[in-house]
Symmetry: C2
């Protein structure tokens, strides 16, 4: 069969197109949701088969989606062999778990090997994740899963006895403490090679925000140079494949809207272990519209994160933080970057809540990293931020990453105001995030919104609640439409 | 957006194709595995979105797969509105089950309503099925699921106090008792309106086999005429949508290779209840390569089938039968049909095992249906079969269905022989079924194979083990290739 690149984007699931009248389809008796294995030039990919009528493809042609094309490293018109994909061997282990059995390290290693090789279909991945939600992974299984997720990806090592890291268990717009924490920690002599992600469903990932301040798309040698020179970096993790199987899991978890604790722990810790970290501080925002909704759930999660981390040689400290409203004022890459700059530069209008959270996380890092004696981390962090050492370190890191720059300004800024006087009683994180995305974030890095109020503030009629930042009046109108139907800020008159 | 039929066969999951640069894709921020709702002319369909580069579609065009096209009842070029599909409301109930909660009747009704409306994606269906495998449905939940599966489909009613039915819990090639049982039961005055399925993964479904003897593709009025005239029918169930949600479940269960007992029971009984049956006899073959592998598992299944059936007003009798090897000689539509004819006509070479199984099932039906006093069903069944009344009834049913016909003969018949003398110690049902499919069954109704031996027989070197029936020598060669690598019959020398 000849390979044809059909320009089909299937968001992670490799697809193959074959004609309904092709000999493979007929003689192999390919059934519903069939999967085929395509091999060429020593490489192979397993793809879900879709069949097309004559017209779209010539006989003896097989069309590949972009995901399948990339995995196969195919060239247009190359000849490939096609056969029904053998069932993934590890599915029997998935069924063992589903039927109440326990999985050992070697079982998770086999399953993750198949996940990484693309041998499990999306439906099969959903079964694995559902099994772990219905019959929760115990600490031993969670540890084994974490280890297996590390093994299938890249693994970094650093020439330092302690390698610091931080993480936030998502869900809180504007909670952009990373650049500040890295600057403070590195300014105090700690090694903190921070890799961050881009937004998946949020209006900005740390990498998106940071990219408005400096280049973040560095390869591994470049990352090493930055860390050697300045002790820390804030880069996009795309150059290294840390726990790459997690991407496949996240894609499915979003569709079924589950996030089992064992899987969450493995997702967070596998990336830290793979990054070569030895100490990590984890921010767990708690609030009714945050990812973790009660303090009890947060404490349980913190205990398990520390326990599983310890088994993997990772010292984990968790901080439960206020997740009842966004942090800082900006939501979206550039609006958040301006908050970060204001805090680092000690500007009078800098958002206090963002500064205080960053200081609290830094204090823990400084003490566990050995840069401050127990009980003195908070004072050291505050001193380093207020005397400009953190800002100087941040600017230096940006320079080595490729040059500090100014976040872009939006072409259109529109105030959204209070219809009547009253007090702000609640802010819905999820609706606010959606609003910033409708304004164009993160695709347009200048887009998003800037809050003018926080919970507890009183407002007069006509006073701005927030400003929308967008490239066009069309996007502004689109966001305002949504706001009208689903106000994200509650004003009690 | 304008609708375009792209001739894409996605085997049950509706797909929509949109250009990556279309305004909906951009402004809605459609993410991985996004789903869109497409509406036109008062109908709507939810489809998984695939994105294509310019070239395949014009701007403002949306391509639909065949499944999506049919569900929407679309016309080429019609204008449709497209929006991101709202999350299916019943997924919160699926998650409730996944996290250990119990589901009530109204919950199953809501879930099945969404399944039938196509609002759950394949990945979400997998989650529902996995939840029921990990945390098995109890009798109450199984009953509720069965009822919900009945409600979303068609429901038949018959003008008779007792409506008989039979079913086989699959997995045994050649076990084609239905035509014989229906003939015997109808000959004894019972009402038995039997609808059967076509093959999904097997070399022949009852409808495929029966179609080589008479037309089976009858609409509901035609089915009613046959049953009124002769008391019974043996038709394809495609004209009526009995428990149609089961098709979606089966598609996913096959991919993850699970078959949870609650789901199996609901699948079997929902079709019987929807068909208007009051009494059903269920054949449960037990053997190492059959669907049910131990007598203990079969007894447990039988108990639950009877219990759940009783709650739904259905009297269920189960027969545990030998599932260690195929039944009769033929595997494939026409080869099986010839076995059925031989039994009904009382030919000397008729396969005794097929006749005895059909008699055993008929005996139970005759007694529970009131045609024979307790303990006399077996004698009556044997009398009706041996004196030609069953054959006369079968021929009459075939005539009313459109005319009795001869099963087609294959163009190529090739013997596969023993390499050495010895005894047949085992026959692998699954491999034999695959062999018949490679020969062309059921697509070519004449294709399949005819066994020359059973377990326990002794063979000389060069003596035939079976004959392959196919349309071409190519297909024969293809099947022999497979046989060489995976012999389905074990000869101990």
């Amino acid at each position: 069969m000849r390979l044809v690149r059909v320009g089909l984007h299937s968001q992670g699931e490799p697809l193959a197109l074959m004609r309904t009248d092709c000999h493979v389809c007929r003689s192999e008796g390919l059934h519903a949701r069939a999967r085929v294995e395509i091999a060429t030039g020593g490489r192979r990919v397993t793809a879900r088969l879709l069949q097309v009528e004559a017209g779209l493809l010539n006989p003896h042609e097989i069309g590949l989606s972009e995901d399948a094309w990339m995995r196969l490293g195919a060239t247009e018109g190359a000849v490939a062999t096609v056969r029904p994909a053998p069932p993934a061997a590890s599915m029997s282990l998935v069924r063992h778990k589903l039927y109440g059995g326990a999985l050992a390290q070697k079982d998770f290693t086999a399953i993750l090997g198949d996940v990484q090789a693309g041998l499990l279909s999306d439906v099969q991945l959903a079964t694995f994740l559902s099994a772990g939600a219905a019959l929760p992974l115990d600490d031993e299984e969670t540890t084994a899963l974490t280890r297996a997720m590390v093994v299938v990806g890249d693994r970094l090592s650093w020439d330092a006895p302690r390698v610091m890291d931080k993480h936030c268990v998502g869900g809180l717009p504007g909670n952009r403490t990373t650049p500040i924490v890295v600057a403070i920690a590195a300014a105090c002599g700690l090694v903190i090679p921070k890799t961050s992600s881009r937004a998946i469903t949020s209006p900005a990932g740390t990498a998106d925000t940071m990219e408005t301040l400096a280049p973040v798309d560095l390869d591994l040698p470049a990352i090493r140079r930055v860390v050697e020179a300045e002790g820390g970096c804030i880069v996009w993790g795309g150059a290294v494949r840390l726990s790459p199987a997690d991407d496949a899991f996240v894609r499915i978890e979003r569709e079924i809207d589950i996030d089992a604790e064992g899987q969450l722990i493995a997702s967070v810790l596998s990336k830290k272990v793979a990054a070569g970290s030895t100490h990590v501080v984890i921010d767990i925002p708690v609030g009714p519209t945050a990812k973790v909704r009660t303090a009890e759930a947060a404490r349980g999660l913190a205990t398990r994160l520390s326990l599983v981390g310890a088994r993997l040689g990772l010292k984990v400290a968790c901080l439960l933080t206020d997740g009842s409203q966004p942090v800082g004022r900006g939501i979206g890459p550039a609006p958040e970057a301006r908050d970060v700059l204001a805090v680092l530069r000690g500007e009078p209008e800098a958002p206090l809540d963002l500064a205080e959270r960053a200081l609290a996380l830094s204090a823990v890092l400084l003490e566990t990293g050995g840069a401050a004696a127990p009980g003195t981390g908070a004072d050291l962090a505050r001193a380093v931020l207020s005397d400009g050492r953190a800002w100087a370190k941040f600017a230096a890191i940006c320079e080595v990453q490729g040059g500090l720059r100014q976040p872009p300004e939006a072409a259109q800024i529109r105030a959204v105001t209070a219809h009547f006087a009253g007090q702000i009683t609640a802010i819905d994180n999820r609706r606010l995030a959606r609003l910033a995305k409708l304004a164009g974030a993160p695709g347009n890095p200048a887009a998003g919104l800037v809050l003018a109020v926080h919970v507890g503030d009183t407002v007069a009629k006509g006073q701005p609640l927030f400003h929308l930042h967008a490239a066009s009046t069309g996007e502004i109108a689109y966001a305002i439409d949504y706001w009208t139907g689903a106000p994200a800020i509650t004003v009690a008159g």
